[in-house]
């Protein structure tokens, strides 16, 4: 009986997503355990924060203030650049995606299965998190929301064996796909020919194709390029930019904001040749 029931469950979950509600309801029972396990490390963190010495805090505060100042000036420039970009795109008759909403989620220090690169964070569907949302940290792309439960959600890292992310080389716009290698510090680029224009040190950014990840976030840095003369594709590896195993705070991004409309509807729409590939498929 039990065997038949579990095989039926396995097959149905493999085929469809009808069992999600059952998983959601069961997760209410199990999720408190995850929080309970996380409690000691959270308490230790809180304790070190509250017993941190005064001078250390003052120093940290000064550093943060300096950093904020630098960032703010950079942001000022970014703002004008963004406006300029929107204007230029208006000339090219493309709409431009702007304004992503982020939610900061904290990692629960628990380990679910050692063979998959999946993290558990403390924000779930009660905060509006939904599957396939991109997840970033301060340095770059971390992964995407794999499964959203009411109180927690599971995040698949870009280095998971089953994860692939569409990327673009920042230097020349070459499009390709970065596939997880199963190791935390390595991505593979398996679909580039041996004569591709790519060198060690090139920055990979998200290309925005596929629709899951917003365009333009850093993913990794190419660190090795070996051409294999007897094979059609070169052997290229990259290192992820984000500190996948070291950070506790992650940002979950909503990138479904509607594209910024063109400044004004252009009156004549003469076809422009050689326009770059549109980033947002929906033209308004």
């Amino acid at each position: 009986m039990a065997v038949i029931a579990s095989i039926a469950l396995l097959v149905t979950e493999h085929r469809s997503s009808k069992l999600d509600t059952l998983r959601l309801s069961l997760s209410y029972i199990v999720d408190p355990l995850k929080y309970a396990i996380d409690l000691p490390s959270a308490l230790i963190k809180q304790a070190t924060e509250s017993f941190g010495s005064y001078t250390a805090l003052v120093r940290e505060n000064a550093n943060l203030r300096n950093e904020q100042l630098v960032r703010q000036t950079q942001l000022l420039k970014l703002d004008s650049l963004e406006k300029e970009n929107v204007r230029l795109r208006a000339l090219l008759e493309n709409s431009f995606k702007l304004g992503e909403q982020v939610l900061i989620a904290e990692l629960l220090s628990i380990n679910t299965s050692p063979y998959d690169h999946i993290l558990v964070v403390n924000k779930g569907t009660n905060f509006g998190v939904h599957p396939q949302q991109p997840v970033l940290d301060a340095n770059g792309v971390v992964g995407q929301v794999f499964r959203a439960l009411p109180l927690t959600s599971e995040i698949m890292l870009i280095t998971d064996l089953n994860h692939a992310i569409p990327v673009q080389i920042n230097r020349n716009g070459l499009l390709t796909i970065a596939v997880g290698s199963g190791q935390l510090n390595q991505l593979n680029l398996p679909f580039l020919p041996s004569n591709a224009d790519i060198r060690p040190g090139d920055l990979l950014i998200t290309s925005g194709l596929g629709g899951t990840f917003p365009q333009g976030y850093p993913v990794g840095v190419v660190d090795e390029f070996t051409s294999q003369p007897n094979k059609p594709f070169a052997n290229i590896t990259a290192t992820p930019k984000s500190l996948l195993d070291r950070n506790r705070e992650l940002m979950i991004v909503w990138s479904h904001s509607t594209p910024v409309p063109l400044i004004s509807k252009p009156t004549i729409s003469e076809p422009i040749l050689n326009t770059p590939a549109p980033i947002v498929p929906t033209n308004e």
Binding site: M1, A2, V3, A5, S6, I7, A8, L9, L10, T12, E13, H14, L19, L22, R23, L26, S27, I29, V30, L33, K34, A36, I37, S41, S109, I110, N111, T112, S113, P114, Y115, I118, V120, F146, R147, E154, L161, N162, G182, D245
Partner: protein, 163 residues
């Protein structure tokens, strides 16, 4: 009253086992982390075969699936099969010396790990490394410990009963 105390104790040990299952170790230690839930379930099915049944194993397996974010039914299937074997053989197994029990536990854990491998592989191809079998060995090594600890729990339960 008696029955509720019994139920609470068993449930508590299983909750503790689940906690041990997801507690964060360092990356290398994680590979050695045995399946504590299954070990606990095996003990209770051997000690109290009339109370712990396949249905319990199946339900706990389902909860473990949700806890570890695996495909639904994976742990449920493995646990119910192993517990079925335990219930069938419990009379014989209780007579065995600890070393012989350890051998049986090794087989049981190996079967469950094999099932995990098959199910995961059907879902999406995975690399099979030697690391994958480490929890079987550590689980077998942990069995005497689990056995002693849970025996203490059970005996304290029985001495409490007349009062």
């Amino acid at each position: 009253m008696n029955k509720t105390i019994w139920f609470c104790r068993v449930a508590l040990t299983i909750v503790l086992a689940m906690c041990l299952r997801i507690i964060p170790w360092s990356a290398t230690l994680e590979l050695f982390n045995p399946d504590w839930v299954l070990l606990t379930l095996i003990y209770w099915s051997l000690a109290l075969p009339e109370r712990v049944g396949i249905f319990h194993a199946w339900t706990i397996g389902l909860l473990t699936d949700v806890l570890t974010g695996q495909l639904f039914g994976q742990h449920a299937l493995a646990y119910s099969l192993v517990i079925y074997a335990c219930l069938k053989l419990h009379k014989r197994l209780r007579q065995y010396a600890l070393m012989q029990q350890v051998l049986f536990i090794f087989c049981a854990l190996l079967v469950s790990q094999l099932l995990f491998f098959f199910i995961k592989n059907l879902h999406h191809p995975i690399q099979l490394t030697t690391d994958f079998w480490l929890p079987v060995i550590t689980g077998t090594a942990c069995w005497p410990l689990v056995y002693r600890v849970l025996r203490c729990v059970r005996l304290s339960m029985q001495t409490n009963q007349p009062e």
